[in-house]
Amino acid sequence: MNETDRQLRDLLEAAVGEPPHQVSAEAVRRRVTWRRAVECITAALAVVVVAVLGPAGIRALGHTLRPAGQQGSATVYVGGHSAAIAVTPDGQTAYVVNGTSGTVVPVSTATNASGPPIHVGGDPAAIAVTPDGKTAYVISAPPSGPGTIIPLATATNTPGTPIRTSQGPDAIAFTPDGKTAYVTDGTSGTVIPISTATNAPGPPIHVGGHPAAIAVTPGGQTAYIADDTSGTVIPISTATNTPGKPIRIGGPLGGISVTP
């Protein structure tokens, strides 16, 4: 720190003074609780609206409220905190994960009717469906303890045995052949390949930073990882599972996708 910096620092010090109030963890917790309560009330209201009006009523309401030219789509209420969604390759079912209640809600795309919620537990945050459409992999990250990946048979909508990989799985993507799922783990800065045939995790690929999102090229040769903290994208060769040279993008990176 040079002389000017020091002088500036002294000036800032002199100007700041002391905060008049303390911020307490208790107040923060109250605000979080309050926010969650509001979310729950909103969800409950949505359920009441759906129950009172029924699917036909909702569609009619949607038609009444929506400006002309946008007719034909309707909002599907699944409740809670809908954190992620994935659609089966045949386009018939959308799976919506609901972080608040620890469930996954299947929605029929033909009727936009939601099916019974599938309980997976924890705090499901991400979902992806295998290219063959047989299994949906749900990433569930509980507030404490390690996260898990729950395979969900789409034929029966039943969850299978959770796969434990590491501490904090964040995002998931499949190779086009469906043989491997890649899961990013922000906690350990790694990407973990999982064989979809055996659901056994392979050795973690160290990429560093906080890998937050992943996409695989249509050819399946490369998985691209978006690193949240360093603002870089790291290519991983799927043949050798080794990371390549990071591509600098800048900014906090939250998502990634590849053109078809």
């Binding site: 000017t4 500036l8 100007a15 003074g17 905060p19 307490s24 107040a27 917790r29 903290t229 900014g251």
Partner: protein, 170 residues
């Protein structure tokens, strides 16, 4: 639930003053500063266990704080007023010096861009390294350096601040 909540409570207790002071330098208002710190903590708390494991929680919370602040600036910023004159007569002794410094600093910081202001406050006042500032702002270290240089150059042009600095140097 116990352990991670304790960690959080401890973090808040130990760091809230420093966070609030940083927030004041960003917002120039104690009520907003308090709200900013609380909002950043509210956003961090649900992910606390993961934040603590993967990262320096302080850097993470500061990052949420700066992002929240820039979000406010884009959407609903009405609370900061430029200080043209001291509203009341000067008080005696140190208080007057503090008020003078406060007005000069608020005025000078108000001229900076959001990013310049954030870099300056984090680097100079919070004494974070260039790499840490880069992580908080999600930018390259080079950007931190150049932004910092521009911010300091800009502050040097402020006559009130220059006067105070000169007085201090003597």
């Amino acid at each position: 639930m116990g352990a991670e909540v304790d960690g959080f409570a401890q973090f808040v207790e130990v760091r809230q003053r420093a966070l609030q002071r940083t927030a004041w330098l960003l917002t120039g208002d104690w009520a907003l500063a308090e709200d900013l710190v609380q909002t950043a903590l509210v956003r961090s708390w649900p992910r606390w266990e993961r934040i603590r494991r993967r990262d320096d929680p302080e850097i993470y919370v500061r990052r949420v704080m700066v992002n929240t602040w820039t979000g406010w600036r884009r959407r609903r910023w009405r609370a900061e007023y430029p200080f043209e004159a001291v509203p009341d007569g000067p008080a005696a002794g140190d208080l007057a010096a503090e008020v003078t410094a406060r007005i000069a600093v608020c005025g000078a910081l108000g001229v900076l861009s959001d990013r310049q202001r954030a870099v300056l406050v984090l680097r100079i006042f919070d004494d974070l390294s260039e790499a840490q500032v880069a992580r908080v702002l999600g930018c390259a270290i080079g950007t931190v350096k150049s932004t910092m240089a521009r911010a300091v150059a800009q502050l040097r042009e402020d006559p009130r601040l220059a006067e105070l600095m000169e007085r201090e140097a003597r």
